[in-house]
Symmetry: C2
Subunit: 175 residues, 2 copies
């Protein structure tokens, strides 16, 4: 019954609260849930594919005081983004390595919902796990809903893991 | 890491094509997918909860020629419904028994989407698996979308398994 491992993709992103690239509460929650409820002790039966999509304009506010005077300035900005992304993926790859679950991780740039669906189409995971802040309809209007888009458009089954109530920060839009 | 098994609920229904209570293509597909991609060889790590919701008016057309003359007629109708439901659940329970996965199965009557969400609230599965015909937006208008409702309203993570393209009957609304 075993054969090829089940390939599940988890879309992960950074926390919006802290300055340093910590994983978001919902990304961590999505991995924890997957390990606890799906993978369980069957570590050789699964391979986890971590996709992190960087949003090019996301750090626009941090860069307000930056001066761009030469092509080098943009290069260093790209290096910094790359370093942040790698640091984030390191957390997830380390977790899997500790437990003994095979994994792969990579970074894409662009609109998260579109890039996730595009990568699903490209690598054909068996299913996709997304974290979600579990916001109400009013809050959703302002923050967009990557998970809802993926449920509708990704070409594989999608399971959305909502952040648990006791992990919700003071402002539920934070993560 | 093992401890209590992961409790996953699968909502199952009858085929709309055949006269006898065969499981629908999407219900069978949802179970097959779950066994192959999630449970795998870890049969002791999971318990499957099968919920079948019977729609009281679903057989309205079959009953057009029936005569209801006494309370007994209604009783016999209820017995027949009960027999159909049990026959359906027997298929799923047998599948699990063959493979050695623990399971429970039960029947509710009412609106499937509401009853599924209600039962999720009552029995607290770790997640819910629903089958889906994978209809386009035009077809969806007429047939309703239990899976979409559950994704939005069920109080647990939900994964929807679409019927595979090669199993789609001539009229995609059939199942």
């Amino acid at each position: 019954m075993e054969g090829e491992p089940t390939r599940l993709m988890i879309a992960v992103n950074e926390s919006t609260i802290k300055g340093y690239p910590h994983p978001s509460i919902s990304s961590k929650g999505a991995l924890d849930w997957t390990l606890q409820k799906i993978v369980r002790s069957n570590t050789s039966g699964f391979k986890i594919l971590f996709l992190h999509v960087q949003v090019p304009d996301e750090d626009g506010f941090d860069d307000m005081d930056s001066l761009y005077a030469s092509p080098e300035d943009f290069k260093s900005m790209k290096y910094r983004d790359r370093a942040r992304g790698l640091h984030l993926l390191e957390y997830f790859v380390n977790r899997c390595h500790e437990i003994g679950v095979a994994c792969e991780a990579w970074i894409k740039r662009g609109d998260p919902k579109e890039q996730i669906c595009y990568e699903v189409q490209r690598v054909h995971p068996d299913f996709l796990v997304t974290g979600s802040r579990g916001l109400g309809p009013f809050q959703r209007v302002f923050v967009g809903t990557v998970s809802e888009f993926c449920v509708k458009h990704a070409e594989c089954p999608v399971i959305t893991i909502k952040r648990s109530a006791d992990e919700t920060p003071q402002d539920p839009v934070d993560d």
